[in-house]
């Protein structure tokens, strides 16, 4: 029995009101479970970012339900949703969003401290997380001294250091060349476990080989769901 980490039911989102109302999501029901890496794909403007924002509790839906790691967040107060994010989620972004003044180690350790981890333990976990993404030798480099791929690996280490059940990312490879992008996905793929799932928004067809499922959306609706390349080996 796999654990469902996030599930949406009949999700709708409309921006603006009256004549300016733009329906962006028109009834999306989907889920991501522990043990899988799911890709969310679709043309530009189809509502991928909007969807992942709502699933993460960063945006409120106009209608429908979201259950995130056991909590119906669409019915919760802001502070409670924040608590759920703090405990269960990790984020990776296209533009890394690392503090330029902080070393790789500090960028991770400070986030852990914000999550309530004691300073000493935060440093230890941060350096372990950096070693896990192959940056054990770059602990004290600042973002300005790292390549794009290395920065993204720091960001991934930051997302994973808090030991989240679900990692969400939007276009995490968009700024990287093919080889680096594949390497970053390999690292993410390795982090999928029976306790953890990953949901990534992407345009990048090359990433399908790492996915268990690919959910394609078009014009605010799920157009199809296909299984990704990661299953090919297991099926045999």
């Amino acid at each position: 029995m796999t654990r469902v980490l996030v599930r949406s039911e009949a999700l709708e989102k409309t921006f603006g009101e009256g004549e300016l109302a733009t329906p962006v999501l028109r009834g999306i029901s989907m889920d991501v479970s522990a043990g899988e890496l799911v890709l969310l794909m679709g043309p530009s403007g189809s509502g991928k970012t909007t969807l992942i924002s709502i699933l993460a509790g960063l945006l409120r839906p106009t209608a429908g339900q979201v259950e995130l790691c056991g909590t119906r967040i669409s019915e919760q107060r802001e502070a409670d949703v924040t608590r759920v994010r703090r405990r269960h989620l990790g984020f990776v972004f296209q533009s890394y969003n690392l503090f330029p003044a902080l070393t790789a180690l500090d960028n991770i350790a400070e986030v852990l401290k914000l999550k309530g981890v004691p300073a000493r333990e935060a440093k230890e976990r941060a350096s372990r997380a950096l070693a896990d993404v192959g940056l054990g030798a770059r602990l004290h480099h600042r973002p300005g001294e790292l390549s794009g791929g290395q920065k993204q690996r720091v960001a991934i280490a930051r997302a994973l250091a808090g030991d989240p059940a679900l990692v969400m990312g939007d276009e995490v490879t968009a700024a990287l060349d093919t080889q680096t992008a594949l390497h970053v996905l390999e690292i993410l793929r390795q982090q999928v476990s029976s306790e953890r799932g990953i949901l990534l928004v992407t345009h990048d067809r090359r990433l399908e080989q790492f996915a268990d499922r690919v959910i394609e959306i078009e014009d605010g609706r799920i157009s199809r769901i296909v299984s990704g390349g990661a299953n090919a080996g297991e099926a045999a």
């Binding site: 970012t49 992942i52 924002s53 993460a56 960063l58 945006l59 502070a79 924040t82 608590r83 994010r85 703090r86 405990r87 989620l89 990790g90 984020f91 972004f93 533009s95 969003n97 690392l98 503090f99 330029p100 003044a101 902080l102 500090d106 400070e110 986030v111 914000l114 999550k115 808090g162 939007d170």
Partner: protein, 374 residues
């Protein structure tokens, strides 16, 4: 968050140095202006404070110590009638014309006093001792007034023409300056009376030392029954005099205005720095918010930076204010950096940085976590 905030602020050295200089400048200005204000208060009432006593008896209608009137003969008996009065000391305080060697006139203020073991007058000596004024027609002038009085060579022994009399300088006081800027000429009572053409028992004020401070109101009431006299506690007369000069002359308003100007400059400089640093980090702050940082933690990013600027910049300003104080002494300006003055100054600097951080606080509070994916 402390570490993130401070490292982010320190990341841009140029901006940090510029804003620290701005805070230090504003703080110096505030400390100096408030200190100058306190100095004005202090110097305007210096004679009252140093002559001391419990009750001052003066002509009815006297509003400020420098504009007293001569008291009629017989006032001494009225002033000392109450049994609680232990000692009566006469004080002369009067403007006179001093004729300089080149023939021009300079207004000076004669301060006549009776020596008392409890109150040392004059209260700060550069050369000589208070006892040196004991011989007839001996006076003390201030070292800062030597040029103004056109004294050439060694001031000790110099001769001054005041009114129709001639006196010799027997001692030099150390930085005692009147709020009115007319040089003080200190003399014992008999000499002062001759310089101000007073009769043998005439003075401007009778200062009463009481056996028990509690009977002050009784003494004041009994003197007040006389139609020409009024008695006030030393504190009341001191406050009246300070208010007359500092509030009445507009000096307080002028100083308050320049202090305010310093604060406004400080708010703008600090506000700009904090806002620029915050703007540069909005993406990262939104990330922290998405990750689960509370609004308080996000605001503390700005708050720690404001606090650092306030403490380091304010500290620098304080050191500079002490420098300015020592430099101002040579120009006859008293800047008092006492506990209350520093308290007011520090509060103003803190308020300045708090106010300056409001723009940035608003910006981070308005931050939507959903913006991280944009």
């Amino acid at each position: 968050m402390l570490r993130i905030a401070l490292l982010s602020l320190a990341h841009d050295r140029g901006k940090l140095v510029a804003s620290l200089a701005g805070v230090a400048f504003a703080a110096t200005l505030v400390f100096a202006q408030v200190g100058l204000y306190a100095g004005f208060l202090q110097s305007s009432s210096a004679v009252i404070r140093h002559v001391g006593g419990d009750v001052w008896v003066m002509a009815r209608g006297t509003a400020v110590v420098d504009n007293g009137e001569r008291l009629s003969a017989g006032s001494r008996e009225i002033a000392s009638a109450h049994s609680c009065v232990e000692r009566v000391r006469g004080v002369v305080l009067s403007f006179q014309a001093l004729r300089k060697p080149n023939g021009s006139l300079e207004a000076v203020q004669i301060v006549g006093f009776e020596p008392s073991p409890r109150y040392v007058l004059p209260w700060a000596m550069a050369r000589g001792l208070p006892q040196d004024l004991h011989a007839p027609m001996r006076v003390a002038v201030d070292r800062l007034d030597v040029d103004k009085l056109a004294i050439e060579g060694d001031p000790i022994g110099a001769e001054l023409g005041i009114g129709r009399e001639s006196v010799r300088v027997a001692a030099v006081t150390d930085g005692i300056r009147a709020f009115t800027l007319a040089p003080y000429v200190f003399a014992e009572l008999d000499t002062a009376r001759r310089l101000t053409m007073l009769g043998a028992d005439q003075v401007y004020y009778w200062v009463l030392d009481l056996a028990r401070p509690e009977c002050a109101s009784d003494v004041i009431a009994s003197v007040g029954r006389h139609p020409d006299l009024v008695a006030r506690s030393t504190d009341e007369f001191r406050t009246m005099t300070e208010e007359y000069w500092v509030a009445g002359s507009g000096a307080g308003t002028a100083l308050g205005f320049s202090a305010l100007l310093g604060l406004v400059v400080g708010v703008v400089i600090v506000g700009q720095t904090l806002y620029a640093v915050t703007k540069e980090h909005l993406k990262e702050l939104a990330t922290l918010k998405a990750i689960g940082a509370s609004p308080v933690e996000i605001v503390s990013f700005v708050a720690w930076q404001a606090a650092l600027l306030a403490f380091v910049g304010g500290g620098l300003g304080l050191v500079m204010a002490f420098g300015v104080r020592n430099w101002a002494v040579d120009y006859g300006l008293t800047i008092v950096l006492s506990g209350p003055v520093l308290g007011v100054g520090c509060t103003a600097v803190l308020a300045m940085c708090a106010l300056a951080s409001l723009w940035s606080v608003r910006a981070v509070l308005a931050l939507e976590a959903a913006e991280v994916f944009r």
